[in-house]
């Protein structure tokens, strides 16, 4: 950083702070010119330095043990990182997450619209659905769907209480992967519906009225006017849910679906290299989560159009990154772009 920052750092010198109370008589007040010429000295915050130092020491210890503890077996981690069955598990985790989120959100939007409708039956049913699904742990739901065959040995398609067109044995239909898909989708739908409902409620009613007064149809009002304005409220929670679901898919390992975690488990059950293989899975989860977080940033920026925060003058991704990691970013040429956190570090003096 340039000169203002260095001057702030030199002000850290441990000289005693000037007395805060002004006990000089009134007639000895300084001239305005003196006050205008006086240099501003920021308040010293020794606590910030102590806490920062303590954290840096802990961080160094953590990195040190990662590198020096031979039992992490980083060479084994490296050799299994792109192992065939690990990559297959990774692919399954990815598409299961994508399929569950996409289907779950479609359902969730429907449930949210039902919950906001004027029809009391639709409202109650959607409320009941959300209540039930949120009340049962996803792992239990998954097991129920996996064991559906023992509850309903056969499933058939037909007129309610009447003629049947097609029939299938449940055990054939509900493999582990379908059970995983259905169970997780319902879970996402329940949570997504609440997220979407909150977003819709955050849009002023005047927007709908203005669109109605223009003669726009109900579906178009929802799609073009309400939903885009609900998005800024929906996206952060959705990013949270998506990242949560990416990791929550690891519970499918209990019904023998070979996702990223279960693939690692299958390997370490044979060679007992438990920690390195768990690290392989962990590293992949970290990489995927990082990519999703970056994606979320760009989607949020897209939907901030027209808002005070958005527009062309908004913060770029790297500016945001440097703002949040000032230790690495603030030394860059353009410290001012580091945002609030960067300035806070400079103020740590």
């Amino acid at each position: 950083m340039s000169s203002p920052d260095t001057s702030a750092r030199t002000a850290v010198a441990p000289e005693p702070p000037p007395p805060v109370t002004d006990d000089r008589p009134l007639h000895q007040r300084p001239e305005d010119g003196q006050l205008l010429a006086a240099k501003l000295v920021p308040l010293r915050r020794p606590g910030q330095w102590i806490s920062a130092l303590a954290l840096l020491v802990l961080l160094a210890m953590f990195v040190h043990t990662l590198l020096t503890n031979k039992r992490f077996q980083w060479d084994v981690v490296g050799s299994y990182f792109l192992n065939g069955s690990i990559v297959n598990g990774l692919v399954l985790t990815l598409w299961l997450t994508a399929a569950v989120m996409a289907t779950g959100y479609l359902l969730g939007i429907g449930v949210a619209v039902m919950r906001l409708s004027g029809n009391p039956v639709l409202r109650s049913v959607s409320f009941g659905f959300v209540w039930l699904v949120r009340s049962v742990p996803p792992l239990v739901q998954l097991l129920f769907w996996y064991e559906l065959a023992s509850l309903y040995p056969q499933l058939s398609l037909g007129i309610p209480f009447g003629h049947e067109f097609a029939m299938v044995r449940t055990a054939h239909l509900f493999s582990g992967i379908l059970a995983a898909f259905v169970g997780l989708t319902l879970d996402v739908a329940a949570f997504a519906s609440e997220i979407v409902r909150g977003g819709i409620l955050s849009v002023e009613h005047g927007q709908t009225e203005a669109a109605e007064a223009l003669g726009l149809g109900r579906a178009r009002i929802f799609r073009r006017i309400v939903l885009p304005q609900a998005m800024p409220a929906i996206i952060p929670a959705t990013g949270n849910l998506l990242i949560g679901m990416l990791k929550a898919t690891s519970i499918v390992s209990v019904i023998a679906v070979q996702d990223l975690l279960y693939s690692s488990q299958l390997i370490y059950n044979q060679n007992y290299l438990i920690i390195p293989l768990l690290l392989v899975a962990t590293l992949w989860y970290i990489i995927l989560t990082t990519l999703l977080s970056i994606g979320q940033f760009f989607v949020e920026r897209h939907y901030a159009r027209g808002s005070r925060r958005g527009g062309s003058g908004g913060t770029g991704f790297w500016q945001l990154f440097r703002g949040n990691i000032p230790l690495f970013g603030a030394s860059g040429a353009n410290g001012a772009a580091g945002g609030r956190s960067g300035r806070e570090l400079a103020g740590l003096s």
Binding site: E204, G206, Q207, E209, A210, A211, E212, A213, L214, G215, L216, G217, R218, R220, R224, I225, P228, Q229, Y303, R305, G306, S307, R308, G311
Partner: protein, 260 residues
Amino acid sequence: MSAVEQTQEPLVRIRGLRKSFGANLVLDGIDLDVREGEVTVLLGPSGSGKSTLLRSINHLEKPDAGFVEVGGEIIGYRHHGSRLHELGHRTITRQRAAVGMVFQQFNLFPHLTVLENIIEAPVAVRGLTRKSAAVQARELLERVGLDGRESAYPRQLSGGQQQRVAIARALAMEPRLLLFDEPTSALDPELVGEVLAVMRDLALSGMTMIVVTHEIGFAREVADSVVFLDGGRVIESGAPADVLDNPGHDRARAFLAAVL
């Protein structure tokens, strides 16, 4: 207005309109006629039912009794035998498209640019192409004195500019009737004039307008008739000079003394 138009069937006919919210009776049997090309200003203390009356005209409020007719068509209902059947969304949507509305809080779509705000309904409802809708939108922006601001977002405009965009947006549907719900009440005082000027031009161009406002000067200068509401009833109506300078009703006199 000329004698020829006086003999015409009024564009807007309201008869026996009643509406209450819970125990609160807001409209207590309103009768009102508005002729084509006329400007009607609704005056009255807050809570007198002006806004509810205005919102009933494009069915944003459903009446409890009575009816609103625009261009000979009952709004929101279909007469059949001894009943008024509520219309489906599609038909009500079509009826609304013929009646433009300008709101106190502008209600522009903040995520769309000025141009997108204006062309949204013409493209979706009137079936214009984006191109021809944009040509029309630019003409309208010029008419309200905002040419060149088409790619701005609403938040980048002043309140007066936003309200003028809202007027352009309503005009883009080529409505037979424009409703204004206190269009200048949310504006800083120095911005009121620019919106009133646009409304004055519209009135001169022959647009039929019903305006809820507290701008007595606008009523005196532009209105063809002034209707004074109190307690959900019309207590005074007529030419602006008669109602504003010579109110017969105590309540009207008290209100005018307070706002003038």
